[in-house]
Amino acid sequence: MLHYIGIAGTNSAHSTNRQLIQFVARHYAQDATVELVELGDLPLFYKTADHSVPAAATALAAKIEVADGVIIATPEYDHSVPAVLSSALAWLSYHIHPFAGKPVLIMGASYGSLGTSRAQAQLRQILESPELDARIMPSAEFMVGHSLAAFDDNGDLKDLTLVAQLDALMTNFAIFADVNRQLTAKMTRTADWQDSNH
């Protein structure tokens, strides 16, 4: 059984991105466990003089380290990733590297019609930076527009075309995680030289 960490890029109590992660967890429960983690305990990122990171970041890093992959659902604020998510990723790449070589699947939900397309593109760029060094599932995007009306009372996605798209993505993500395991075993970690630079 595969084990993923699910991150909704929000600190809001009511978030359709958290709903999306919860749907993924429930809908694919037979194939994988998806553990939803929260970002609300992490302070706003700043460079600490002693290179330490908050305990909440260490705990989150430990969970990501042992997972087969990470699924991130990002909101979009001002055409970009919310500060709470970019801040969390900054902590999770500050002298610790839980994302290095880790398969990541990006998705997002928004109230409007675009489904966070711009935030997803930016998140991809962030995750590809050497300090994070994540393995983003290629050519994959999953955008839920008009998210306030996208889920039924049980929290299931109403649009069956979207669900079919997600089915394929999740199947391919499992294959991608498997191939990536073989690949990373043979590769030098980019972050190894990055650490010596700081």
């Binding site: 706003l44 055409h79 919310p82 500060a83 970019s86 900054a90 760029q125 962030i126 994070l132 009306a149």
Partner: protein, 445 residues
């Protein structure tokens, strides 16, 4: 000239703050540049609105009062610093001090990039509609290898860098001056007072959150609203609510009721969102006007509502952009609704494609449209002007083609026969076409 500068870092040591301090000192003859601290700004949360807190009010007021803003961003993971993004999220939530504010982006980094990618993402964020800043185009000030860039007094060591920074600052001052002149020319028109956020409840406003997805259901429960078999007395008639719905939902147009508080309170829901000419979702009912119109349309919406509310007009008609000549002509009509005392009570908006009606009319009357050579083409606001020549054309045509049409009402067989018989006596001008049409028109009647 007064500028404020913000470094996107809350660490004790920041090279970007050092860069801004240098800029403030070096260019003090050009402008008074004040550095603002973002140290105490909490993490943005839409659940916990702290817009009124001192650290955010301080930033909002300082930025609003400044002629321009200089932002210095570090780069983390190929994007702008979370601390900088966090500040911008607060300042694009319930206050918008960056709107139309000239902004200059600079940045410093440890290595070769000089925050190049962070600057691009910051630019993208600042130009989003919720922020609305006027970021100075083209010039980029990227300070690389920042650890060795300053001398012991905090001055930039490299002369060429100083010279380039001077030209960037000079250009920014000019940019600020030009934009200021541009903004001052905009007079404060009365239509701007229209409140699209529906903040002026009227005597029909229901105390239910306007953004609630089930606004209708909540409001119905609260007002003990009539439904189903309940009768409603109308001017002039008596219908059940069901009958009223059947009636309204079979009008050949999409109708919307925006009340006097600019709240969207009704539409005749007979089509799904994707099939509508002016698409709406059932859960949007109850929204303030501002929530159902994109930013770019809002000024125009205000103008139209104001025109109706202030009685400059009772009806405003507008074709949508992208209509196709003699194929599709979608019109939006806005009609003021007034009560017995002539007070404005909202706008009745209806939307329909008028081409099928025109096409049907032409077919029934055996006419074709011809362009009026003397009419000025006016694709944008052309409703009234282009309608005129069309009307004239039909008047002209009726003189020759009227006979069969008039006959059609008085009797199918006679009408169809008459021109054929007449053809021998020379009514050739009317032509064969009206004959054929008169026949089919008559049979439908």
């Amino acid at each position: 000239m007064k500028f404020v500068g913000i470094a996107g870092s809350i660490a004790d040591e920041s090279y970007n703050r050092k860069l801004l301090t240098y800029i403030a000192s070096e260019f003090s003859p050009l402008a008074d540049i004040e550095l603002l601290s973002i140290q105490d700004v909490p993490m943005f949360s839409q659940d916990d609105d702290q817009t009124q807190s001192a650290p955010i009010q301080y930033l909002a007021k300082k930025i609003a009062a400044a002629d321009g803003v200089i932002l210095a961003t570090p780069e983390h993971n190929h994007t702008l610093a979370p601390a900088m993004k966090n500040v911008i999220e607060w300042l694009s939530f319930n206050v918008h001090p960056f709107e139309n504010k000239p902004v200059l982006i600079v940045g410093a980094s440890y290595y070769t990039q000089g925050s190049s990618r962070a600057q691009l993402s910051l630019r993208q964020v600042l130009e989003s509609p919720g922020v609305g800043a006027l970021v100075m185009p083209s010039d980029e000030f990227l300070l690389a290898d920042v650890k060795t860039a300053f001398d012991d007094h905090g001055n930039l060591k490299d002369e060429r860098t100083v010279k380039f920074l001077g030209s960037v600052m000079g250009k920014f001052a000019k940019w600020v001056t030009v934009l200021k002149a541009m903004n001052e020319k905009v007079p404060d028109e009365p239509w701007r007072q229209e409140d699209l956020s529906a903040g002026h409840p009227s005597d029909t406003t229901i105390d239910v959150p306007m953004d609630a997805k089930d606004w209708v259901e909540q409001g119905a429960a609260k007002t003990n609203a009539a439904s189903g078999h309940d009768y409603v007395q109308l001017d002039r008639g008596l219908l059940t609510v069901d009958q009223l719905n059947w009636f309204l939902n079979t009008f050949p147009m999409e109708a919307t009721y925006m009340d006097d508080n600019n709240q969207f309170v009704y539409y005749n829901h007979f089509l799904d969102h994707d099939d509508m000419l002016a698409p709406r979702y059932p859960w949007q009912v109850g929204n303030a006007a501002i929530s159902c119109h994109p930013e770019r349309a809002r000024d125009h919406v205000k103008q139209v509502i104001w025109m109706l509310r202030s009685k400059q007009k009772d009806l405003f008609a507008m074709p949508v952009p992208g209509n196709k000549l003699n194929e599709k002509y979608i019109m939006h009509y806005y009609r003021a609704m007034r009560d017995g005392d002539d007070n404005y009570r909202g706008v009745n908006e209806w939307v329909l494609d008028i081409w099928p009606i025109v096409a049907d009319y032409l077919r029934r009357t055996g006419q074709t449209l011809a362009p009026d050579p003397s009419a000025k083409p006016d694709a944008v606001s052309g409703a009234s002007q282009s309608a005129k020549p069309a009307a004239d054309a039909s008047t002209g045509a009726s003189e020759s083609a009227a006979a069969p049409v008039a006959d059609a009402t008085s009797g199918a067989s006679e009408a169809a026969a008459a021109p054929v018989v007449d053809a021998t006596s020379g009514a050739s001008d009317a032509g064969a076409a009206p004959v054929a049409d008169a026949t089919s028109g008559a049979s439908e009647a």
